[in-house]
């Protein structure tokens, strides 16, 4: 499998993440979809790093940094979601409509 295969898998995974983010109603599942998109980008970075040798391993380093940023993001995101769910007693994003008027 050449680089095309890895990039197509990465594209599919990113698309699945986009679909999950837009179509699901659960706030936690939206966060999971964001994680899927992070992983798709990571996969493409590592694939480019493997097939583009004179890049000073920038792809792998970037992938590690994206993992750290994703960990920070999911920590704060889950804390926010839990705080919202605790006050609103629901995890459906359709019902977070207080600012609607």
């Amino acid at each position: 499998m050449g680089i095309d295969g890895y990039l197509i898998v990465s594209t599919l995974l990113f698309g699945i993440g986009v679909f999950g983010f837009m179509a699901r109603r659960n706030a936690i599942l939206m966060l999971i979809s964001i994680e899927l998109m992070f992983n798709a980008v990571n996969l493409s970075l590592v694939a480019f790093n493997a097939y583009l040798p004179p890049a000073n391993n920038a792809g792998a380093v970037f992938a590690l940094m994206i993992m750290a940023v994703a960990a920070a993001e999911v920590t704060v995101g889950l804390a926010l979601v839990i705080a919202i769910i605790r006050t609103r007693q629901t995890s459906e994003v359709d019902q977070y409509s207080d600012l609607k008027e």
Binding site: L12, F14, A60, A63, M65, A71, A83
Partner: protein, 155 residues
């Protein structure tokens, strides 16, 4: 792995979605190992499978108090979501297939020494900024997760 990803967004029970997410992340770690990046594969297993999945499972179990089975897990903008998703996949996939990358035909494995040297020389400043970001994230999470009554007791 793509099947695992599809299961994440289509399964009705959110705990099943989280398990499918773990399967997806685990096979991604295998893919990194295939690409000759063992350090990234190890970090994937440690961070995603070890930390983020457990965190998400904890959050699900904290929040889903019996109302896990809803009539429908999707909302009404599903058609728009499908159109946009297919557009993105089609566009990026077309770009991938059309582009002549002109790269090496074989994957070159990146050894750990080179990654470590790059991380601490060329990328030293982003590395330090990442540590600061993690500190800010810890403080923010602690502040957000604090219960209001504990707040009043502390005052």
């Amino acid at each position: 792995m793509v099947g695992g990803g599809l299961a994440v967004v289509t399964l009705r029970n959110i705990i099943h979605s989280a398990i499918a997410m773990m399967i997806c992340f685990g096979s991604l770690a295998g893919m990194y190992a295939l690409l000759g990046a063992p350090i990234v594969a190890a970090a994937q297993v440690l961070i995603y499978l070890g930390a983020i999945s457990v965190l998400i499972l904890f959050a699900i179990m904290l929040t889903q108090a019996g109302d896990a089975n809803l009539p429908t897990p999707f909302h009404r903008q599903v058609p728009i979501a499908i159109v946009v998703t297919l557009a993105i996949i089609g566009l990026v996939g077309w770009a991938v297939v059309q582009t002549d990358w002109g790269l090496a035909a074989e994957a070159v494995s990146a050894n750990v020494d080179a990654i470590a040297i790059a991380l601490f020389t060329d990328f030293a400043l982003p590395f330090e900024i990442i540590s600061l970001l993690l500190l800010v994230a810890i403080i923010g999470a602690i502040y957000l997760a604090r219960r209001p009554e504990e707040d009043e007791r502390a005052n």
